[in-house]
Symmetry: D2
Subunit: 338 residues, 4 copies
């Protein structure tokens, strides 16, 4: 970490800063330039190194980070890629895995029929929401535990593991009883109680990027889960909020190679939430896979025009089958499979 002092700062300010740094257990590396004095914070110490330790010291102009604030999520700590087991295969490995299903679990029949349909088309896991975070209190909020039970029945029949959202820390034990993968939604990406509870559960966690989260924030959120010794974390790019309104969110394609450079955790993409329109889902799915995504999260509904939520962005089973075929071609073109 590097502390840049204000122009013409006093010797006292430098001295006080150096004392503070040493008090935190770090060494000091002083560089007095013609324009600015720069104080390097080097070495190791149990005290976490944070900008805020020094940024409010007198006559400090700014603090620049040299290393990333996340540790367990970085290659520095874990030089090999993390592979997350899912349905007998490994997410992050050669195969591009596809998690598909409805936005909301609407009925027992619906989820079971959908599970069969997506399995047949080649999906690796089943998604479906039992507890739904809805912008409006007047929207359908999900069937709760009934939804989880119906999903479990679908799993029994198809063998597909279940990916479902958990919205609150106190629901983690209940949801973890049924689900194979705990999904943390974009709106909860910085719900730290929830992240801690997911970490403690030791279950696989699919962590969606928040709508206004930098990749660094996403990795810091992953760090909460990882810090409980739970290393099975899947990151998900699902679009960020920008000024553009032609799509529901803005799918940040560069996030895929950037995350792969920043972290050893696998990265999947959610083209349904990113675009908000089913016509755009397949092109974005193909693009994400071509750019290196390890998997896809896709909304499939038997009758999108009757869906209780997100119908506009849901694929019919028929369109999903088509997508799977096309995505497979793209995956093979880059030396993977789907």
């Amino acid at each position: 970490m590097i502390v840049v002092m204000q122009k013409g700062c006093s010797a006292e300010a430098i001295y006080n800063l150096m004392e503070r740094i040493k008090g935190d257990g770090y060494d000091v590396h002083l560089s007095e330039g013609e324009e600015r004095t720069i104080v390097g914070v080097v070495g190791h110490s149990p005290t976490p190194l944070k900008e805020e330790n020094y940024s409010s010291m007198p006559e400090v102009e700014k603090v620049l980070r040299v290393t990333a604030p996340y540790k367990l999520a970085s290659y520095d700590f874990h030089p090999n890629d993390t592979l997350v087991p899912l349905n007998g295969t490994l997410l992050g490995g050669e195969k591009v895995l596809v998690v598909a299903g409805p936005c909301s679990v609407e009925s027992r029949e619906q989820i079971i029929e959908t599970a069969h349909a997506v399995k047949e088309a080649g999906a690796t896991a089943l998604r479906g929401g039992a507890f739904k975070p809805r912008t409006s209190p007047y929207s359908f909020q999900g069937h709760g535990e009934d939804g989880l039970k119906w999903m479990a029945e679908a799993r029994e029949q198809t063998g597909l593991p279940i990916v479902t959202e958990v919205m609150s820390s106190e629901l983690v034990p209940l949801v973890a009883e049924y689900a194979d993968v705990l999904q943390v939604g974009a709106r909860n990406m910085q719900n730290f109680h929830l992240l801690n509870a997911c970490g403690e559960s030791q279950q696989t966690v699919l962590l969606k990027r928040g709508m206004s989260s930098k990749l660094e924030d996403l990795l810091m959120a992953a760090e909460y889960v990882l810090s409980h010794g739970n290393s099975r974390v899947i990151l998900c790019e699902r679009g960020i909020r920008t000024f553009e309104t032609a799509t529901r969110n803005t799918f940040d394609l560069g996030a895929i190679p950037a995350l792969q450079q920043m972290t050893h955790l696998p990265v999947v993409a959610d083209p349904s939430h990113a675009t908000g329109k089913w016509e755009y889902v397949e092109p974005v799915a193909r693009g994400a896979v071509a750019a290196g995504a390890d998997g896809l999260l896709l909304e499939v509904h038997l009758q999108p025009d009757k869906a209780l939520s997100d119908g506009r962005q849901s694929l019919t089973p028929k369109r999903f089958r088509q997508l799977m075929e096309n995505v497979r071609q793209v995956a093979q073109a880059i030396g993977r499979d789907a």
Copy 2:
């Protein structure tokens, strides 16, 4: 609500849409233009009116809202301004109220001494964090219930009501035992479990705008609290996330008059989190009050350079006194007081 059909849509698609609308209990108003057929959804029905009901019907191009999706938060429902009682006065009334205190409650002595200092300078309430949402799991996470107890002691000595953050639904009962105002942080603005729990608590709620929340989203979040019959909701503009990095967030000044046109709820401003630098706090505080904010939320620390969090944006008690004086002048210039 208005449904715009695709160019050259079929009669069947229009018919099906009309049937769907009637099935939802609404009347249809058809307008066949030369370029597009437009279907108006009019009348009243117990079925909530949502874009998604119709946007995924075949041959629908788009759905346009005519009225706002929030109800209880709107003037349509509640034509008079809501005034929220705080420390014997009314937030939303003539006086601009100031809530001040440290980011984190760091010790019993700290919070008590700060409470006296801010009271003396004219603050109406004391803020302080006992449970802290921190981007990094390695940062100080707050003293928890001890912090709440120390705040309660500070209230006993000074008479200042307590504003403090509650981070999770299961903590609402505990925090509500000590706090006068439950603060919902920006990262939790769409934590719907938490909003429901705050609504049920019937305690005053200070709801901070999420970093990527439109004003409409903020009002929908308020709607969650209001829908439990809890009308004491205070909205807080605290800056949004944009591409600008010169300030920690971007303080959206236009949000103040816009919210005052959209809702009857009082609106306060948090210049500390918006700017991230204490030098900018006073100008932004003056600006927010001049634009009509009903109150301010300000971080004050006895020794900002030793703060465990947010020291860079904290005012010393001395600077806070100066700010109070200057803000009072501005409030009086627009016919209010502070």
Copy 3:
């Protein structure tokens, strides 16, 4: 266009609005709902239909568009895809075309050697900047006409057509003398004098999306060129500015299918400017092609670490060859070629 009146608006306001609409040559379609009165503007008239015509009328709450504001760029006007001739083939057709070359033309030798290298690897056209828009007045501003001459020489030797930026309307005649395609940069996307001059030139125009431009804005900018009878316009997604800093800009993958739904004009992608780092260029290039981009714009430099601009995002000729091969695989996987 639909005008929503304020709740409880006066008959006079409605009357005045109707008179204004009729005065503009349109018909009125009135719908008095229980909550709001809605006035439809229908029919045809030579007066362009703009929100602002009616949004400032008394007691008007808001104006909603039914049809897009762009015409010539839309399928309504031009139902077939536009194919732009480039080097004996058609951009927008089956083949994915690649335009490659250095950010800046740095010397005669450099551009000629680069032209040979990119041609050999399969590029369809040569890019290079002779006039450079630089954020800093202290940065290299380009070799001007000399650069154009050197590019023309490179074209003579390789047969590759030239794509180069024109920064100002008064430079259009000069640049058009040498260039095959006039590039309008992101910072100039709403430089309307320049757009008009490019339109008048009747030369092919490559129009880059502005950093804060919605797709609708991009199409309105294209409309300026098209309105001069110049239909050879190529749109380019090159990343938008958001809060994310891990990449130079945020590549908006959904923009590709969205534009293809909104307009008949071909769409290319610029992964170099979108990401700012050469390591991310190939994944993003593959992703853009998989999502349906008609072409790519890529920065290639003989010695990126010695480049006068944008070295960090430039590919070496060797890496470019590798990229071409991999992109070709992806193109073939979706039934195209590259």
Copy 4:
């Protein structure tokens, strides 16, 4: 400037970097930490110091700036505040100056009558557009030189200096013949030819912040003007583009104190374009002045509902008079006048 090397970088990479730095005329300051080697670039040299010089060298992880990239706009270069003469007083001095007038000059009568009205209410200068940058080619594009002549006539009658936009470098001589202040619009903030032409003109320049421009970008644009020896530059915050749609743009209040800390140039605010609705203009104007803005740019129209552009955000002369009174109160509350 600080260059951070990749973890475990080679001695050769460090050596080559050091040679490059020395070749640029700078000194090297090496710091080998346990985690990363850091190379400081210190001293002075005629070669401008840019990140890109070193960021594409092998094994470089990132380059961090210590000092700002703008020079002439900074206090380092010009320690005293710049005061810009306007109508016999100084912008940047004690008085808050107000520039008012219509968005477009629509007729001789209109601009003259408006000039009298705004003068009477206390405006210091007259604004009005003769050349209009319009998103749509189908919108009114301004009266051109006729508009300038009518403004000159209005100046003759009222003594108010003229502020008007110049859209293209080749128009600078014409516009400069009539105008007292050349306005560069948000969409042209990085039209570097235009900035150079304005710099050369030696006339006062009002530079509007681009919709997606960081404050640093705005200062780099100012640097273009300043580098021609033209120091009369006024900066204007007019709202940036974000995801929020309740206002036309997002007025960034923190930009005012931030700019005042970063530069000696005066800063004015444009609440009309920032908000897009006349009801929000006065609150935002009061807020900007309370936060320290040196002036205001306001749209005033005799009959906003008949305006050819921007009627929705225009004040009537009556409302403008009221605003002037209220803004004056706020200015006096912070020890200034208006």
